[in-house]
């Protein structure tokens, strides 16, 4: 599972404003911010809903273009993102709709950010919503649980290594 990611942008203030507006329908806002002198020479901002999981830094743009997709639980939120992202100055890269080549209920919209990065918001639920997305069957959830148990020790080892590296 992805914890957070980030990219360098060419105009920090402009991109921060664009993402804040485009992702507002998802409950995203700027949650954390560091001035250049505290963030390795470039300002940084972390956006998120419950934790900052999407980071912007100055000094870009990141090249070549990246792709990032955010998950929502209703198709109406995909539509709201598309509208907000275009209103904030984004360029259309694919209107809200089903992308059946991924799966039958894959409903996404694509907008290019101020640097041309491909930003998507996707809903995996059928229209009207559901308790769980179709792709997560009882069997796959069970398998995921046992896989999580199996890999728990490995995760700890990785965390330890990261700690050592920090110092």
């Amino acid at each position: 599972m992805i914890d957070h990611t980030g990219l360098a942008v060419s105009d920090f203030a402009k991109s921060k404003e664009w993402y804040a507006r485009a992702l507002a329908p998802l409950g995203y806002k700027v949650m954390m911010e560091f001035p250049a002198e505290q963030a390795g020479g470039q300002p940084a901002a972390g956006l998120g809903d419950i934790k900052p999981d999407f980071w912007l830094a100055g000094g870009g743009p990141t090249s070549p273009h990246i792709h990032i997709a955010f998950a929502v639980k209703s198709r109406a939120l995909v539509d709201a993102f598309y509208k907000a992202a275009l209103a904030a100055g984004g360029r259309d890269n694919g209107p809200p709709g089903i992308r059946a080549h991924y799966h039958a209920d894959y409903y996404g919209a694509f907008v290019l950010d101020p640097d041309g990065h491909n930003v998507e918001v996707v809903c995996h639920y059928p229209p009207g919503g559901a308790a769980k997305p179709k792709r997560a069957t009882a069997a796959s959830r069970g398998a995921a649980k046992s896989a999580a148990k199996k890999r728990a020790p490995a995760k700890k080892a990785v965390a330890k290594k990261a700690k050592r590296k920090k110092r």
Partner: protein, 49 residues
């Protein structure tokens, strides 16, 4: 919440092998692979990375 992310790489096969090996302890594997040709389908996208 991030659903998935992707990036273009210089050497697709080398990077594919690197990520598969590096993320194997997390239970990650190549879950989906798209051909290069269809419109807008980057060849390097896996299930959520």
């Amino acid at each position: 919440m991030i659903d998935h992310a992707g990036l273009d790489v210089g050497d697709y096969l080398a990077s594919r092998a690197f990520y598969a090996a590096a993320l194997a302890p997390l239970g990650y594997g190549v879950k989906a692979e798209l051909p290069a040709e269809p419109p807008g389908a980057p060849a390097d996208q896996t299930a959520n990375f």
